[in-house]
Assembly symmetry: D3
C-alpha cells in the first residue's frame, strides 16, 4: 500500500494496513505539557506524513536511532484526522530488505510503468524530429541528463510535485503539441516539440529529487537564477557540443533555430506578471504557453478530485492554487 492510498481509505475510520516508507528525518520534540516525543518524518514516491512516537512507547529508543534514508515497513492502524491529517496508532515497523527495498525505492509499479512509458514516448518523439539540430540537441539532453530528468518533479507544490513528475508533464505536453500541430499545419512541429522538452529543463536544478530517495532539497542555483535562466544556459551548453559546422548550410540558419528555441523557454510563462522576461512573439511560443497551462491545470483538477474532501455530492473542497471547488465531471454515460 502507499501513503496516498491510506489517505483515501482512512477518511472515515481506522484502517489496518502496512506501508513501505523511507525516513526523511527524526526530530526530538516535547508536548506543551513537557512530555517528550519524536517526530519521524516519512515519505514514499507520491506522498509524505509524520509519525509521532511518545516517550512511553516501547519503540521510542529504536525509533530515535533511525537514520535518515532508512527504509521501513510500517504496519498499524491509520486514519485521516480532519484537522491534522494522516495519523497512525498501534503501529510497529521493521527494516525493508533486499528486493522489497529495491522495489520500494523504484516507486510503485503503476507510477513506474507510467513514467517508463512516458519517458519512452518522449524519447521516441525526440528521435522523430526531422530537423537534425533540434533532434541531436534533444537526444544529447536525454543522454547526459536522462537520469536526473527522470528524478525531477514538475513543481514543488500543486502539480506533478513528485519524483518523475516532470517526465509525466513533458510527455503529456508532447501529446498535446502533436495534436495541436495536426490541427494547425502552420505550426513548426519540430520546434514546438523541442520547446516542450526544454521549457522546464531548468527544473532539473530547481525541483530535483535526490538519488535513491524521495526528498527534494532546495538548490542554490535554482534559487538564484530560476528555471528559465538555467534552462537557457543548459541549451546553450548542449548547443556548443553539436557539430554545427556540418549544418552550416541548412535553412533556417543554425543561429535562428537556437534563438527561436531559447525564445520558447524564455517566454513560456506567457505574461510579464508571471516572471516571463519576454512575452510570446511567435506562433510556437503562444502554443507552448497554452499547452503548458492546459496540462498543469488539468492535473491540479485531477489532484483535487483524488484528494479533496467532498463538501456535497459531486462537489469538492477548494483546491489550491486553482482556488475553485471542483465539480465532478459529467460521466460519459450516453
Amino acid at each position: 500500500m502507499e501513503i496516498a492510498a491510506l489517505r483515501s481509505a482512512g477518511q472515515d475510520s481506522w484502517l489496518h494496513a502496512a506501508v513501505p516508507v523511507v525516513v526523511d528525518a527524526v526530530i526530538e520534540k516535547s508536548s506543551t505539557s513537557g512530555k517528550p516525543y519524536l517526530e519521524v518524518q516519512l515519505c514514499d514516491a507520491r506522498d509524505r506524513f509524520a509519525l509521532r512516537v511518545w516517550s512511553d512507547n516501547g519503540q521510542y529508543d529504536t525509533a530515535r536511532s533511525l537514520a535518515a534514508g532508512s527504509c521501513l515497513r510500517l504496519e498499524g492502524e491509520f486514519h485521516v484526522h480532519p484537522q491534522f491529517g494522516l495519523e497512525a496508532r498501534k503501529w510497529s515497523f521493521r527494516a525493508l530488505e533486499g528486493k522489497e527495498k529495491e522495489e520500494f525505492l523504484a516507486g510503485p509499479p503503476d507510477l513506474r510503468a507510467r513514467q517508463e512509458a512516458d519517458y519512452a514516448f518522449l524519447a521516441e518523439t525526440i528521435d522523430k524530429i526531422k530537423d537534425p539540430r533540434l533532434r541531436e540537441l534533444g537526444l544529447s539532453f536525454l543522454e547526459k541528463f536522462g537520469p536526473r530528468f527522470r528524478r525531477t518533479a514538475a513543481a514543488r507544490f500543486f502539480h506533478h510535485a513528485r519524483r518523475g513528475g516532470l517526465v509525466e508533464h513533458t510527455a503529456q505536453m508532447m501529446r498535446y503539441a502533436d495534436a495541436v500541430c495536426a490541427a494547425n499545419a502552420a505550426l513548426h512541429r519540430d520546434l514546438l516539440v523541442a520547446g516542450v522538452l526544454f521549457h522546464d529543463s531548468g527544473k532539473l536544478w530547481e525541483n530535483c529529487v535526490e538519488e535513491g530517495g524521495f526528498a527534494m532539497p532546495f538548490d542554490e542555483r535554482g534559487e538564484l537564477l530560476g528555471h528559465i535562466n538555467i534552462g537557457i544556459e543548459l541549451v546553450n551548453t548542449l548547443w556548443k557540443g553539436l557539430p554545427l559546422d556540418d549544418w552550416k548550410n541548412l535553412q533556417p540558419d543554425n543561429e535562428d533555430v537556437r534563438l527561436h528555441l531559447l525564445h520558447l523557454i524564455a517566454a513560456h510563462h506567457g505574461e510579464l506578471e508571471f516572471g516571463s522576461p519576454v512575452q510570446p512573439k511567435t506562433p510556437e511560443a503562444i502554443a507552448l504557453h497554452y499547452i503548458d497551462n492546459l496540462d498543469a491545470k488539468l492535473e491540479m483538477l485531477a489532484r483535487g478530485y483524488a484528494s479533496s474532501a467532498t463538501v456535497a455530492e459531486r462537489i469538492y473542497d477548494k483546491v489550491r492554487p486553482l482556488n475553485i471547488r471542483p465539480v465532478a465531471p459529467l460521466s460519459a454515460g450516453a
Copy 2:
C-alpha cells in the same frame, strides 16, 4: 481585388487597381479652411476605408447621391499613407450589377470557400456527436440560426472580426478540441464539442453582420446582457424544444448534461477578472478556455504578420491587444 489587398500592395507606392465595395454611409463635411467634401465610407468582406470627394471633383454630385447599401466598382490609384491609412486618387466608379454584385456580396471566393468548408466541417462534427441530447441541440441550433451564425463575427475588433469569423473560429476550435481529446482520453468529447459550438453563440446578438452587407451594428440586447448570458438563454430555449422525455432514462441525466453545457458557456472567459461569472470547475471547462485562447491569440498574431509594418527585418510593429512586436516564425527549412 479586395481592400485588404490594396493595403498590402500599396504600402510603398501608388497602385492602379479596381475594387468592389459597398457604401456604408456618405457624410458631408468641410475642411478646416471651409472647403466642402464628402466622406464616403466603403467596406467589403474583410476591410473598410473612407474615400474623400472634394466639391470641385466632377463626381461630387454623383457621389453625394449614393445610397447606403449601393454596391460599386471603384477604380483608381491607391496608396497607404503612413498616418492616415489607405487613400485613393484619380478614381472613378460605377454600379455593380447582376452576377458581379451577387458575387461581391457573397464575399471573396477564398474566404467564402474557407467559411463553407469550415461550416460543413462544423455541421459534420455536430452530427457525429454520440450523445443524442447534445447532438440534437447542436443540430437544432444550426437549423434555426445557421444563416445568422454564418454572418456573425467572432469579435468586434482584434480577431476574426469579419462576417463569418465566428464560423471560422468555432471550426478551428473544434479541430483543436478533437485533437486534445485524442491526446487525453479522460475528456468528454461530446460535451467539449458542444461547448465549443455554443461558447460564443451569444455573439449572434452581439457581433452579427447585417444581411446582404458587411456592416456590424450594435445591438441593445448584446450591450445589456453580454454574449455569455445570451448564449445561456439561447441554449435554454433550444433545450426546451428537445424531446427530453424520450431520453429521461439516459445516463447521465438530461439535467446534468444541460448544467455541464451551460457551465462551459458561463466559465469560458476563465477568470473572474475577464468577466467570467464562474471559474472553470470541470476538465472540459478548463480545456475549452485554453482552446479558445489558443485560437484567438494565434489569429491575432497571424493578423499582425499580415498587416503590421515591419520595424526591422523579421520584426513587426506592435500588435493590439497582444501588446507585442511579433517576430517572423522560423521557416520550416530542414
Copy 3:
C-alpha cells in the same frame, strides 16, 4: 440563549448557560495520543460550534447515537478560547420537544420578528410598483419562491450569512433604493426596486438553508452557473408565465422592460474583475451596484463591532474581508 450570545458573554470567564442547538454531524475522532472522542457539530439560527466528547465521559454513548437533525438543549459552562473559539465543560443535554423545539427551529424571536417585518416591507414595496409587468413579476416570485427565499442567506460567509439573511439584505437595499430615488427623480423607481428584489435571487440555489434546520449545503447548479446566471434564468421563466399579451401596447415595450431588468442582475457586481459579465450601463444599474455595496459593507462592519475582539479602547481586531481594524462609531452625543 443563543450560541452568538455565548460567544459575546464568554470572552473573559466561564459562563453557566443553556442553549438550544441542532446536531449537524457527529464524527468519531481520536486525539494524537490515541484517545477517542466525538466531535459533535452543533448550530442554531445565527452561529455554529463543535462540542468535543471524550470516551471517558459518561455521555459518550448517548452522544455517539445522536442523529443529524436532532434538536437538543445543551446546558453547561461556556468559554471562548482565544485560539480555538467557543468551548464547553461540565455540560449535559436532553432532547428539545414540542413547542420548545418548534420555537427553536423558527429561530430566535428578535431575528424572526425582524425577518418577518423585512419580508412584509419587501412584499408591500413590490405591491406598490406601478408598472404592471414588474409588479406581477415580483409578486409571482414571492408566491412561488417565498418560503425558499426566506430560508436563503445573502452570502456563505462575511455578510448576512444566515437563514433569512437574503430577506434582510434585500429589504434594507429597498429602503436605500427608495431613499436614493427620492433624492434623484431621474431614477426609474419601479425598475430599481425590481432589480433589488431579483439581483441576488439566484442565491436561492447557491446559499439556501435546508428546510427545518440551519445547514447550508452546496448546490451543483449554484457551483456550475453562479447566482447571476441562475437569477437571469429565473426571471426569464417567471416572465414567460406573465400575461404579456395584455400589456403589449404599454410603453416602454415588454421586451425593453425585461432587458433592463436582466441588465440590473447581470451588471450588479459592477466591474469585470468581480465576475460581472457586463458593466453597469444605465443609471439604475449604477445605483443598484452602489446600494448593494453600501449595505454589504455596513453589515460587515456591524458584524466586526459585534464579534471582533477589541485590540485597544474603541479599536477592533481586523475584520475579513474588509481587511480593516474597525474604529468604534462616534456616539451621537450632541
Copy 4:
C-alpha cells in the same frame, strides 16, 4: 446660445448661431505648408473650443490683438467635425458689453439658478446640523470660503468639471446622505453631512476657477499635497478658530468629533489603490465613499447621454473614464 448647445445642434449640418465667449489665449501658428493662422482659444461656463483664423481673413489683425479675458459675441456657422470637433465658418465677432457681458460671466441662467439653489440647500443643511461643533465649522467654512467654493469644479475632467461643479456635487451628495440616514438610523447624520461638505474641500486649491472667468489654472499647493491633505489642513485651521472651550463638556469630546470628521476626508477614496491614505473604518466613512461614487458615476453617465454620439439606436459611444457604451435609460412609460 452656449458652446455645448452648438455641439449638440451642429452634429449633422452647418448651423447659424451666435455665442458669447471669453478669450482664453491667442496663439500664432502656421500650417504645415507655411500658411500663418491664429488659434483663438475660447470658453464659456460649460465648454471650450478653438477658432482658427487664417492670415487672409479680413479679421486676422483684429483677432490677433484680442487680449486674454476679452468677452466676445461670436456669430457664424457652426458644425461638429467627426474628427476635429466643433468648427466655425463665415463668422464675425464684436465685444460683449455692459449687462450682456455681466450676464455671460455670471454663467447661463439655468446653471446659475441650479447652482444658487444647490448652494442655498447646502447652506441650509449645514445650518440644521445639531452638533454645534460641526455646524459652526461648516458655517465658518461657507463664510470664509463661500465665493471660492462656488467657483470650484468637482474635478478637472470627467465629472462636474465646470465652475460651480463642486457645489452641485456636494449638494447632491447631501441629498443622498440625508436619504441614506433616513433609511438607516444607525448612521450619525450630523457627522455624515459635515463629511460631505468637507470631503473635497481641498479641491478649492486643486480645481478652482479664476475669478471673473472660466479658466482653471493648476495650483502648486494642489499638485504637491493633493486635495485630501489640503482638506485636512483646512479643517484643522477652521477648527482652531472655534470656541472649543465652550463645548468642552459635550459628549462626544471635541477631539473625537474632529478625528472622526478628518477620517471621513482621509478615507473617502475608499481603497489604498486610489490613493486613500487610510481605508474607511467607521459607518459614516463607508457611507460617504459610496455616496461619492454614486453621484460621480451617475453624472459621468448623464454627461455621456448628453454629449456622446449614438453608435446605434439607444446606444452611445464609449464614455471615459467609465469605459462603457451607455444604453439609453428605460423611459418611465407605465
Copy 5:
C-alpha cells in the same frame, strides 16, 4: 540573555538560561480536555513569547497574581518548537529589582548603544542643516518629541518593529541620503534630510511604545488618520511655532519650503496603490521614496537571515512580506 537569543540558541535542543522579561498580560485558559492553565505573555526590548503555566504547577498561584508591567527574571530550560515556537520547562522566576530592573527597561546595552549613537548622529545631522527654517523645524521636533520619537517603532510588523526602531531607520536613511546627495549634486540636501526626519514622524502616534515598557498599544488617532496625515499635521503645528517673520526675505520663500517638505511626507509611499495621496513630483521626493524602500527591505532581509530557519545550506525559509527565500550573502573573501 534576551528572548531573541533564546530563539537562536534553542533551535536544536533544550537550553538552560535566564532572561529578564516584563509581563504584558496574564490570561486564564483551559485546555481542550478542561485542564486550566495560565498564559503569561512576556516581552523584552526586541521580542515576545507566551509562557504556559498548568494548574498543577506549584507556581500557578504566584503566576496568576502577576500584575501587567511586573518585571521578572525567568530561569529555566528553553526550546524552539518547530510549530509552536519558543517554549519553556523547569522554570522559575523572581522579581527584578533596583538597578537590574532599570537596566532591563533601558533595553540591552548593544541596542541601547546603537540607538544612542543613531540618535546622536541624527541630531547632529539636523544641526548641520544650512537652511534655518528646516534646521529649526528639525530641532524643535527633537526638543518637543525626542523621548516619544526614541520609543517609537518604524513599523508594527516586518521591519524595525521595536522600541527605538524608528530612530534606527531614520538614522540609516539619513546616511543613505547623505551618500546619494554626494553622488548627485542636483539634489537639495537640506530638504532631503528634513524629509527623512519627518517622513514617518506620524508613526509617533501609530507605533509608539509605552513609557517604561515594551508594549505598542493601538492609537485611535493613528487608526483614523494614518501616519502621513499625522506627520503633516505635526509639521504644520511646529512650523507655526517658528519665527517665520525673521526669514520672510529668504529665498526660496518660507511657504515654498513648507510645501516641498510636506510633499516629501505626502508622497513617500511612492505609488497611489500603496496609499500615497500624491505621487513623487520632485527629485527629493523620488530619492526619499527609494531610500526608504532600500533601508526597509534590507532590514527585512537581515531579519530573515537572523531568524528564519534554513531550508537548505545557505537558503532560508520564506520571509514575510518580502515573500522570498533569502540566499546567504556572498562572503567577502577575496
Copy 6:
C-alpha cells in the same frame, strides 16, 4: 545648434538657426488632397524630427535623392507646433564635409565629454575592484565590447534613450553604489559594482545605436530573448574566458561568485510583474534594484523639466511613463 535646442528655443516664435543632421530615411508621400511631398527623417545625437518637402519646392528633387546616412547642414526658420511638434520653413541645406561631419557624428562636445568622463570613471571603478574574478570579468567586457557599449542607449524610450545613454546610466549607478556601500558596510562592494556594470549589458543587443550614426534598429535577438537573458549569456561567455584555475582556491568559490553576479542581473527588475524571472534574494540584489530605479526615475524627471511644456508657473505637463506633472524643484536659496 542641436535639434533639442531648437525645440527649447522655438516654443514661442519662429527662430532662425542652422543644425547638423543625418538623414535616417526619405519617404515619398502625398497629402490628402493628392499633393506629393517628401518626408525627410532627420536625427542627431539627442533627438529627431521630420522635414516635409512639397513638390513645388525648388529643392524637391535634391531632397528626393538624399541617401540614408547623408550628413547635412540644415539652415532655416524653426518653430514648435503645439500639436505637430518641430517644423521648419524657408530652409536650405548642404552636405556636411570633412571635420565638420566628423565632429557632428562624434556628437555634441558637452555630451561627448560627459560620456567620455563617465566611461573613464566606470573603467577606473572596475579597475579598482579587489576580487580578481569580478575585476577581470569587467575589464574583459570593456575590452571586447567597449565600443558597442559606448553606442548603446539605456532604453528605447523614456530615459537615457540616446547613443551612449547606457554609459551615462551605468556610471551614475556606480556613483550611487559606491555611496550606498559607504553608508552600509555590510554590502559587498565589488559584487555590487560588477552587478551595476552588467545589469543592463544585454541591452548592447537590444538598444544599440548603429556605427557612425544615430539610428537604433531593432534586433531579433533582443526581441526573442530580452536583455536579462542576453546579459546572462554574455557573462557566461566572458566567464569561460577567465583563468579560473588560477583562482580555484580563492574564497568565496569561483562558482559562488558567478551565481551571485548572475542573480544580480536576473533579479534587477525587482518584481515578477516587471518580468523579473527571480526576485532579489541577497542584499546586493535589493540595493541594485533600488539604485537602478533611483537613477532611471530621476532622469525621467530631469527630461520632464527640460522638455515638457509648463502648464502653470513651476508646474510641467504630464511626463510619461512617470505619469505625473513634475513640480519645479525647490531652488537651493538659503
